[in-house]
């Protein structure tokens, strides 16, 4: 039996997924919000970026189901004895990516390479020692004749793409058939675009999974680990840091911002004082100081963190919390200004005259009218945090070096690029995956802004 391992960040990400689900369910009941979201999804760019974000989130959810495998039983042990578990924590995603994870080489190798990147001393059959590039242990080891290299990649790719197309078309065809049967006429979503994106993602995934059985698609790193595997594992870190840090900013910014704008007077003064003070302190210094504190805490309580992954997970959550705690000021300022404006409107005055309580006015009249600001800033913050992680890891105050993250990969890439010939694949692979996520988030935030911002919204 396997032993499930539940990390705090796992709990948080699943709780978050459920919360988003509830939010969607809530939106379905609200006709105005539904109409607004409709304009987001009527747009081709909106749908495409949404599908891509969903794909990233799904990967990180699968990567958040952790477990420990039992070690093989020693001889002379009974099956009823206590099972010893491996100290290596795996996730369900590792089972999918087993081709990438296994088959490590000894050091750097270029994408699709057959030979190692560095020369080694080797002994020829007649006993003489010479220096040359050694053949990779796993990259393309199935090839009988090395002249077939390119053809083999081509053939394997075609095969993988065909399989991917078939796998992708089955759910699409099923969904089309269901839609036809339901006879839904007022469909507004450009389904063809969604299908296209979906199939493209499926084809890419199957291609990666199938070809990686034979080659290292994006090469290997210094210790011979597959670079693509690392960058896929880093998706979870990126998505989590974006969502968790945003989640921390929300309650603080909403409560303080709205109460400052609504109650005015000394409340307003206090809140303004807090956020001006906070934003006057250089952010990176504040983060660095807090991360140092966390390191000290972990060192003084080693018994609470008996697994490496527990330690890096704690550090990671703390980092998200710190990031959130220092970056709520922008949203708070926006909310305060908007609440000041909204609370002067006639219907809020009318509500006061009818004797509606403060909490009632805020909940019924003010919060719905500032939701667009919150939504827009959530999506914008998300991409900002993903980008910030790279910078922080570079400075040395980012996520734990044991954790796969794009920032750590970029950090390592600095010395790799200055080698000759340079090792470019590690930074490229981090770049591609990070760029796709941030671009999708930015495009989606544009669509959300167009739909929700009253100044740009059309029609409603």
């Amino acid at each position: 039996m396997i032993l499930p391992v539940v990390l705090w960040s796992d709990i948080l990400i699943f709780a978050l997924a459920i919360a988003v689900g509830l939010f969607v369910w809530q939106v379905r009941k609200n006709p105005l919000a539904k109409a607004r979201w409709r304009t987001v999804f009527e747009n081709k760019v909106g749908v495409t970026s949404f599908v891509i974000i969903l794909f990233y989130v799904l990967i990180s959810l699968v990567d958040s189901l952790h477990f420990r495998e039992p070690l093989p039983q020693l001889e002379g042990e009974n099956a009823s004895d206590k099972v010893a578990y491996s100290s290596e924590v795996k996730s369900v995603l590792d089972l999918v990516l087993v081709n990438l994870e296994e088959g490590a080489e000894t050091t750097y190798s270029a994408p699709f390479a057959l030979y190692s990147f560095a020369k080694e001393n080797m002994t020829a059959e007649d006993g003489t020692v010479y220096r040359d590039f050694p053949r990779l242990e796993n990259g393309g080891s199935h090839l009988a004749d090395e002249a077939d290299h390119l053809w083999d990649i081509f053939g394997k790719s075609i095969q993988a793409i065909l399989v991917g197309l078939i796998i992708g078309f089955i759910p699409v065809a099923l969904h089309m058939w269901l839609r036809k049967r339901a006879g839904n006429t007022e469909d507004y979503i450009p389904w063809n675009v969604a299908y296209g994106t979906f199939i493209a993602l499926v084809v890419i995934s199957t291609w990666i999974l199938m070809v990686s059985e034979y080659y290292h698609i994006l090469g290997t790193d210094k210790v011979g680990q597959d670079v693509l595997y690392q960058s896929i594992k880093a998706i979870r870190t990126g998505v989590l840091i974006g969502t968790l840090a945003t989640l921390v900013t929300l309650p603080i910014a909403i409560v303080l911002g709205i109460s400052a704008g609504y109650f005015k007077g000394w409340v307003d003064d206090t809140v303004q004082f807090i956020y001006t003070t906070l934003s006057s302190i250089p952010g990176i210094l504040l983060i660095a100081a807090s991360v140092l504190l966390i390191d000290v805490y972990i060192e003084t309580n080693p018994e609470a963190f008996n697994l490496t992954i527990l330690r890096s997970d704690f550090k990671f959550i703390a980092l998200c919390a710190i990031l959130g705690l220092i970056s709520w000021t922008t949203l708070c300022r926006l909310l305060r200004a908007e609440t000041l404006k909204v609370s002067q409107l006639d219907y809020v005055q009318a509500a006061h005259a009818f004797g509606v309580s403060h909490s009632g006015v805020i909940r019924k009249h003010i919060l719905p009218n500032v939701t667009h600001i919150i939504l827009i800033s959530v999506v914008l913050d998300f991409s900002a945090f993903v980008l910030a992680e790279a910078v922080l890891s570079y400075i040395g105050v980012g996520v734990d070096p044991n954790m796969h993250s794009w920032g750590n990969m970029i950090n390592a890439a600095r010395s790799e690029l200055s080698r000759d010939p340079s090792v470019w694949w590690s930074v490229t692979s981090a770049f591609i995956l990070m760029f796709t996520l941030v671009l999708a988030a930015n495009l989606f935030s544009d669509e959300v802004r167009n739909a929700f911002d009253p100044r740009t919204a059309k029609g409603n």
């Binding site: 001006t276 934003s279 006057s280 302190i281 250089p282 990176i284 210094l285 660095a288 100081a289 140092l292 991409s383 980008l387 790279a390 910078v391 570079y394 400075i395 040395g396 105050v397 970029i410 890439a413 600095r414 690029l417 200055s418 340079s422 470019w424 930074v427 770049f431 990070m434 760029f435 941030v438 671009l439 930015n442 495009l443 544009d446």
Partner: protein, 290 residues
Amino acid sequence: MARVHLGDKHVTQEDIDNWKSQRGYDKPLFVNSERSGLDVVTDTIFFDKSIRLLAFDFGKSDEGRSIANDIEERMWPSLALQIPTFIIGIMVNICFALIIVMFRASLFEFAALTLCVGMLSISAVFYIIGGQFFFSKLWNLVPISGYLTGWDAIQFLILPIIIGVIAGVGAGTRLYRTIFIEEASKDYMRTARAKGVSELNILFKHLLPNGMIPILTSVVVVIPTLFMGSLLMESFFGIPGLGSYTLDAIQAQDFAIVRSMVFLGAVLYIIGLLLTDISYTLVDPRVKLS
């Protein structure tokens, strides 16, 4: 903390106490009950290290160097990098934004905006790595990193400045475009068109001066903080400015320097806020200080 500075080996408790008392870390945090009179609050870590900052007395770093001297020495490279990046950046952004506004509702606008979103989705780190890789390593145009004083510094500064400008183009152009578009939908623009003013004249005589008001006021707040240097740029390019000074201090856990830099940053930010308020009254005659 003392252990970090003294190293791991052969450190006795005596050495640590010695190190602490030399730098004044052996005093109590807020209240010194061993002293009498005013010394109860003044002979403490808090007073010694923090209140003195208010008089811009930075004291000495934990390494024993004068922080004020270091700051004075290191601010010039920072300014030499930051001011050109800032000015060229704003000019380029405004030019791009105006061009995009000029070709409103065309395929060009769509392409330019897509490019902007793409560019702002790339982390600044990638611009730096990419720039160093192509310009310095592959094409050997400029040295990868380092610094020289005087006019020789240009060869080291030109790449960071270009990269700094390019990294900011995406976000900046988009922001200024929204400002210009909002300005372009106002009544005086329609009046100008109705009078038959040429499109170029509208752009430069009507749109630009009015659009500059929000742009200037949003930009002023940044000016004093330019002084602090850019953490990323300076450490990647090995420029001995205030940014890399701070970064080194963080990594060496030199709290005297970090404290001074935080204080300096906060003061400069407040000056920036003040300048913003003043600049409102200068550029927009409708706003008056009451």
